[in-house]
C-alpha cells in the first residue's frame, strides 16, 4: 500500500515538528515522498473592509489563522493570493491597512509565507505601498521540484500583465525543462472567466500560451471570492474562497455585490484550502471553512 508522507505522519501520530525535521524519507520507499508536499492558499482578506456582508471584519482572518495553526501537520508554506487589504484612496491609510494585515498574520505558526497584491492593494498606486511592506509583486521560487511563478496582474489598474512582465515570464520559462511542474500564483483569473464583472486579465491569454508547452502547469488565484475550477486545454485554474465576504457565481445576479451575511451560518462561503502536491503531477485540493460547523 502506498502511503504518502502526510498520511504516514498522521498514522504514526507525529506532528509538524517532526515533519519539518526531515523524517519524511521514511514515509514511503520510493522517491515520491521526496517530492510530495503541501501548501495552504488564503485569499482576499480585505482588511479594512466595513459593511453588512461581514459583521466580524477584524475577527475573520484571526479565525482562519487559528484554523491554519491547528492543522495537524503544518504546510511547507502559505500563500496569500492578493487583496490583503480593502482599497482606500488615502496612501497613509493604505499603508496602515497593509501593516495591520502584516501584524495579524504574525500569529501564523508557519513563517514561510508568500504574498502578492490584489487590485485593492495595488491598483491605485502601482503597488508602491505593497512593495514597501512585502517586496516584489512578481517573482519565482522553487520548492521540491515544482517551479512557482507569482504573476502581478493588478499593479496596472487595467488588469494587464504587460509586455515587460510577459517577457520576464517567457525568459524564465525558457530556462525550465518542459517536464518541470509549473505552478502560477496570481490574483485575477488569467482566462476570461467573466469579463462582464471584470473577472479577467486582459493579456492573460499570452501567459497561458507561455504555459502551454509544459506538461504540468496549474494556476491558483483569488479575486472572485469563491471556489472555481476551470481548464484551458490541459492547464487547470483554481480560484480560492475569500476571507471577508463571498461573491455570487458569475452572472448569477445583475451586480457583483457581496452575498449577504447569513446569521444562521456565520462565515458561510469563506475559507481557505490545502493544496497537496502529489506525484505524478497532481494536486489534491481540500477546502476548509473559517470555523467548523
Amino acid at each position: 500500500m502506498s502511503v504518502d508522507r502526510r498520511q504516514f505522519l498522521k498514522l504514526a501520530g507525529l506532528g509538524g515538528v517532526v515533519f519539518a525535521s526531515g523524517l519524511a524519507g521514511c514515509a514511503t520507499s520510493g522517491a515520491a515522498a521526496e517530492d510530495e508536499f503541501y501548501f495552504v492558499q488564503l485569499s482576499d482578506t480585505h482588511i479594512g473592509f466595513k459593511g453588512a456582508p461581514n459583521p466580524d471584519p477584524a475577527g475573520t482572518l484571526p479565525k482562519a489563522i487559528a484554523a491554519v495553526n491547528a492543522l495537524e501537520i503544518q504546510p511547507d508554506f502559505i500563500v496569500f493570493t492578493g487583496d490583503l487589504t480593502h482599497t482606500t484612496d488615502d496612501p497613509k491609510e493604505r499603508r496602515q491597512r497593509l501593516a495591520q494585515f502584516k501584524d495579524m498574520i504574525g500569529a501564523l505558526k508557519n513563517r514561510n509565507i508568500r504574498f502578492m497584491p490584489g487590485e485593492h492593494d495595488g491598483s491605485l498606486d502601482k503597488s508602491e505601498a505593497f512593495k514597501e511592506l512585502f517586496g516584489e509583486t512578481h517573482y519565482t521560487f522553487d520548492h521540491k521540484g515544482v517551479h512557482f511563478i507569482v504573476l502581478d496582474n493588478v499593479s496596472d489598474p487595467a488588469a494587464r500583465l504587460g509586455e515587460e512582465q510577459l517577457a520576464w515570464m517567457k525568459a524564465d520559462l525558457e530556462k525550465q525543462p518542459k517536464d518541470r511542474r509549473i505552478v502560477v500564483l496570481t490574483h485575477r483569473p488569467l482566462f476570461p472567466l467573466y469579463p462582464q464583472w471584470d473577472w479577467a486579465t486582459r493579456d492573460g491569454d499570452q501567459a497561458i500560451q507561455l504555459l502551454m508547452p509544459f506538461r504540468s502547469a496549474t494556476v491558483f488565484y483569488g479575486h472572485i471570492h469563491q471556489e472555481h475550477h476551470f481548464k484551458t486545454a490541459h492547464i487547470e485554474h483554481h480560484a480560492a474562497k475569500g476571507l471577508m465576504f463571498p461573491l455570487p457565481a458569475a452572472g448569477s445576479q445583475p451586480k457583483r455585490l457581496p452575498l449577504p451575511w447569513d446569521a444562521a451560518h456565520p462565515y458561510r462561503g469563506l475559507g481557505f484550502r490545502e493544496v497537496d502536491a502529489e506525484r505524478p503531477a497532481e494536486y489534491k485540493l481540500t477546502e476548509f471553512p473559517v470555523v467548523k460547523a
Partner: protein, 120 residues
C-alpha cells in the same frame, strides 16, 4: 511628401493627442454621450435598436476610467479626463447586456456598470 499626406498625418497626430479618435462619423449614426465619474456612468442605461449602429462618445469627469461592453465586438476604450473617446457599437442581438469600468478606480469600482437594452 505630398501636401494631402502631410495634412492627413497632422490630423492623425491631432486626433491622437486629443483623444478624438477619428471614427468616421457617418451622418446617419446617432451619437450618444456618456460621462463616467467615480463610480457611475451617466446615463447608466441605453436602449438601442437592433441593427442600428451608434457612436458612443465617452468622457470622464474625474479619473481615468474604462468602458467595456464585452458582449459586443471591440467595444472598449480608455476614458482619459480631458479627452473624448469614441467607440462604435453595432447592436446585433436583442437582449440586455452589461457595460462596465474595467480600469480599477477605487472603492466602488465593482459597482461601476450599466445596461444596454437592445430591442427590435
Amino acid at each position: 511628401m505630398k501636401r494631402r499626406a502631410v495634412l492627413q498625418a497632422a490630423a492623425g497626430a491631432l486626433a491622437a493627442a486629443t483623444g478624438l479618435w477619428a471614427l468616421p462619423a457617418r451622418p446617419q449614426e446617432k451619437v450618444i454621450k456618456i460621462t463616467a465619474r467615480r463610480f457611475t456612468y451617466l446615463p447608466r442605461e441605453l436602449t438601442l435598436k437592433k441593427g442600428v449602429p451608434v457612436i458612443l462618445e465617452l468622457t470622464s469627469a474625474d479619473v481615468v476610467m474604462g468602458f467595456s461592453a464585452p458582449d459586443f465586438d471591440n467595444v472598449r476604450a480608455d476614458i482619459v479626463p480631458g479627452q473624448v473617446a469614441r467607440v462604435r457599437l453595432v447592436p446585433e442581438k436583442v437582449g440586455t447586456f452589461t457595460f462596465l469600468c474595467d480600469i480599477f478606480c477605487g472603492d466602488g469600482h465593482e459597482q461601476m456598470s450599466g445596461t444596454i437594452h437592445v430591442v427590435v
